[in-house]
């Protein structure tokens, strides 16, 4: 069911990203740093995803968030929250794992990939359009190219690109959709059995 509400959550999150970018007095204290997080600076688990390296980094992520956040929020505000949290968690787990060698990470794009998958899924369920499938494959192709080349496509931000965060975000999305479907199937079976 699509709602016509103003996407307050999405607009609020965009405002927070802008606030962090323009108002944070000491940005380095807010970066995602596995070493500092292990030492007790837990706020970095969240703030790292809200920080951006430069204006280009900020603008593109905010535009992506505006589109994806609005789409999901129009379906369900609960889904919006769950998707954001799963996205941030997926990227954080990767960054804290032995598979990541990064000292510092910033940016929303990892979590945006979780939102991307959720938004595509919701649109697909709504419209069953071939457009959705095309967009899905184009997005996957972008991520595959970035992982293989180690470079961002078209974008040129002042920090080195880290495409594995996008992969983590997508995996988070897959987890979310699978668990959502399992829960729904389970509910349906339970209802059928009880009927």
């Amino acid at each position: 069911m699509i709602k016509r509400n103003i996407p307050f959550l999405t607009l609020g999150l965009v405002a927070i990203l802008l606030g962090f970018y323009f108002l944070a007095p000491d940005k380095a204290l807010l970066f995602f740093s596995p070493t500092d997080i292990r030492a007790g600076e837990y706020w970095r688990l969240i703030t790292g995803h809200m920080m951006h390296a430069d204006a280009q980094h900020l603008i593109w992520n905010c535009l992506g968030l505006l589109i994806l956040g609005t789409l999901i929020e129009r379906f369900s505000r609960l889904d919006w929250w769950v998707t954001l949290l799963v996205g941030i968690s997926s990227v954080s787990i990767l960054l804290l794992s032995p598979y990541s060698h990064l000292d510092y990470y910033i940016g929303m794009s990892g979590a945006l990939n979780t939102m991307l998958l959720m938004a595509l899924w919701k649109e697909w369920r709504q419209n069953r359009s071939w457009w959705i499938v095309s967009i899905f494959f184009a997005c996957m192709a972008k991520v595959v190219i970035e992982v293989n080349t180690g470079e961002s496509i078209v974008t040129n931000i002042s920090w080195p690109p880290y495409a594995w965060a996008h992969v983590a975000g997508l995996l988070g999305g897959v987890f979310l959709l699978c668990s959502g479907e399992l829960a729904r199937t389970g509910t349906r079976s339970a209802l059928t059995t009880s009927c």
Partner: protein
């Protein structure tokens, strides 16, 4: 580790923010010796930098105008860039460029004064200790222009895979007498250009000029980049080759350092590079070996005692509020089991904290309040501050001194040997943050070397986050101590630096020396990490002939003079060492505390019996530069077959990801689809 990160974050913040306000003083200008006359106008200022094969060559060409109705003598003064060897000064006499020759300081001054008395054109370049290079020019004709060119060479280090080049323009503003001297117009009236050509053995991801967003950065290939900052008039001339009629307007102010960063690609190996110079008929060659270690130093986890030693002299006045804020953040982020003291110094030192305090919230807040009640003033008794900071050190705990200063020691003990003796008697590491271009860098660097710490130079134009990462990276990891470099299989001598000391994570080891013979040699680096012996070795090839890098001889000479100067710092003035410095400087054409560079009309060199050694050397260097430009990028790595390190070099390993325009274009149809669907509903 948390404590280290936070402290150095705060200190780096302090360094940057404390002199974040726009600088008031500029350097590198020309002024009449008659102080009643206003300064000469800067008509043109052109900087050409070539960074390749591990060193940077900077040529600065300036045109000054004498607006007065009388001929006059003028002084051109500029801050000494870090580790810069000045080997070329050219003065245009009768429209022709004439290069200078190096003589002993007193003799050069005598020649200059005699020429001036005789009314002859001449120029003299002298080094004013660590402060500046001062160039006297006579005569600057009434209503006419003066053109000069200065060239210096310096090693181009890479730290944690980030390279940094600074063209210094800001005066540090630490000398009260100089403040009035420097308080004048610092604008280039007609043309300004800054061109940097970069060629590297290693692929480069990106270039960055943090305070010069208008710079044009061109990537020719992963190994070759160009950076330019050119005003419009100069660009127009470059484009069509025609003369441009300039309007007397301000086009560029010489009041902000130009800082350039470059970032190496991720995952490059630790490696050994060799750049050498040896002529066809010479037995002896000169080399520069650059070792970029693999990232094999482990993180440190133990806690420490921290002593903040803060410069509160008058020159810090405009920076005090930011300094207090930086210290507040540093103290606020200490762990409860850490301890701290805060020492302030100006004419004398005083402790703010009454011994070590546990970093409890109450103690920290008290210290912050007390610091806020202080005001900077008076002179700089650096010795008193350091000596005070070293009291009460607990031998059972690791201790570190964090010194933040922008000035010079001008009260109390001021001799370098006294400072070195003070540090040698204590088991404490000194980490100095050297702010601006006028600090006594040689003193602070020597102290850091003696204590196995480091001195980090900070410019107004540096990136705060970048300097933070650099400091944090060094201090959160083990250090390779007591380093010794050995060569076998070939005769190698005159190695410099004589004492290497320590290597922190991400730092490169750069060694100069002479070699005889040619062929393969074994090079071994010994050191200790946390008391355990470590050895790295490889085999490298020394060439029989290599003529592309004559500048290596000057760089060796400069490094050797630094070593000799360090010896005098330890053992006091010594006539033999002074003579050795003079000999090395004259042989390599270098301006030092004991040698100066004189420029005379060609015929006067002959009449005065001055050999044109430096002119010949400059010609050789210019030819080599042209040849290098034609050849393009070279691979200087010499441990391909037997790599010295098995792990990749250290990097800051930071990353981020952006959705980018590509993703935005993909999402637009999704949005349209969504809206259409909604409408349909």
């Amino acid at each position: 580790m948390k404590t280290l990160n936070r402290i150095f974050l705060s200190v780096a913040t302090l360094c940057f923010t404390s002199f974040w306000s726009p600088p008031d003083f500029a350097a590198g200008l020309m002024t009449p010796t008659d102080s009643d006359l206003p300064q000469l106008s800067i008509r043109e200022h052109h900087v050409d930098v070539v960074i390749e094969d591990g060193y940077a060559i900077t040529s600065v060409e300036q045109v000054f105008g004498n607006p007065h109705s009388v001929d006059l003598e003028a002084i051109y003064s500029f801050p000494i860039p870090e580790k810069a060897a000045v080997g070329e000064f050219t003065f245009w006499i009768d429209g022709q460029p004439v290069t200078g020759e190096v003589l002993e300081k007193e003799r050069a001054r005598e020649v200059y004064e005699a020429e001036k008395q005789a009314g002859n054109e001449s120029a003299l370049t002298e080094q004013d200790d660590y402060r500046s290079f001062d160039i006297s020019v006579y005569p600057v004709r009434a209503g006419q222009d003066v053109r000069i060119r200065l060239t210096y060479i310096q090693p181009a280090h890479v730290d944690t895979s980030i390279g940094r080049y600074v063209y210094p323009l800001e005066d540090g503003g630490v000398d009260e007498q100089e403040l009035s001297f420097w308080s004048y117009q610092d604008a280039v009236e007609e043309r300004f250009s800054f061109n940097l050509t970069f060629r590297s053995t290693w692929p480069i991801d990106e270039f960055r000029l943090p305070r010069h967003a208008q710079a044009n950065i061109q990537k020719l290939s992963e190994w070759e980049w160009q950076v330019s900052l050119i005003n419009e008039a100069a660009s127009a001339e470059d484009g069509d080759g025609e003369t441009v009629n300039y309007l007397p307007s301000v086009v560029h102010s010489l009041d902000q350092d130009i800082v350039v960063y470059w970032r190496q690609a991720e995952g490059l190996p630790g490696a050994v590079e060799l750049v050498s110079y040896r002529e066809h008929d010479k037995d002896r060659g000169t080399f520069m070996m650059t070792v970029t270690p693999g990232d094999d130093l482990k993180p440190i986890t133990e806690g420490r005692d921290w002593v903040f030693v803060l410069d509160m002299s008058g020159s810090m006045a405009g920076k005090f509020q930011s300094l207090a804020e930086g210290v507040r953040r540093g103290l606020s982020s200490l762990n409860a089991n850490d301890r701290f003291r805060v020492i302030l110094f100006n004419n004398h030192s005083r402790e703010m904290t009454n011994g070590f305090l546990n970093a409890t919230p109450g103690n920290v807040q008290n210290a912050i309040d007390l610091l806020g009640a202080n005001q900077p003033n008076s002179g700089t008794d650096l010795y008193a501050g350091l000596e005070h900071g070293m009291r009460l050190l607990d031998s059972d705990r690791s201790s570190a001194l964090i010194l933040v200063t922008d000035g010079v020691a001008n009260i109390g003990y001021t001799e370098k040997k006294d400072f070195l003796a003070l540090l040698e008697n204590q088991d404490v590491r000194l980490f100095s943050f050297v702010m601006g271009n006028s600090a006594n860098r040689p003193l602070l660097e020597s102290m850091a070397r003696v204590s196995n710490g480091f001195a980090m130079n900070v410019s107004n134009s540096d990136d705060i986050a970048g300097k933070l990462m650099e400091a944090t990276s060094r201090l959160t990891h083990e250090t390779l101590h007591d380093i010794d470099v050995r060569f076998s299989g070939i005769k190698v001598s005159d190695l410099t630096p004589e004492r290497i000391g320590s290597l922190y994570r991400g730092q490169q080891l750069i060694v100069f020396g002479h070699y005889w013979g040619n062929g393969e040699a074994q090079v071994t680096i010994d050191g200790k990490v946390s008391g355990e012996a470590k050895t790295y070795s490889t085999r490298i090839d020394f060439p029989s002939v290599e003529t592309l890098h004559p500048e290596i001889e000057r760089l060796w000479g400069f490094a050797m003079i630094e070593d000799l100067q360090n010896q005098m710092d330890y053992f006091g003035e010594d006539a033999d060492i002074e003579q050795a410095i003079v000999d090395v400087a004259i042989a390599n054409g270098l301006v030092t505390d004991y040698t100066s560079m004189i420029v005379l009309p060609e015929e006067r060199y002959k009449e005065l019996g001055i050999n044109r050694l430096n002119r010949d050397r400059i010609e050789k260097e210019q030819l080599a530069r042209q040849e290098r430009a034609l050849n393009g990028v070279r691979d200087n790595r010499v441990d391909h077959t037997q790599p010295m390190y098995s792990s990749p070099r250290a990097g800051h390993a930071n990353g981020g990801g952006a959705f980018g325009p590509w993703m935005f274009l993909l999402l637009l149809p999704l949005l349209i689809q969504h809206l259409r669907g909604r409408k349909h509903q």
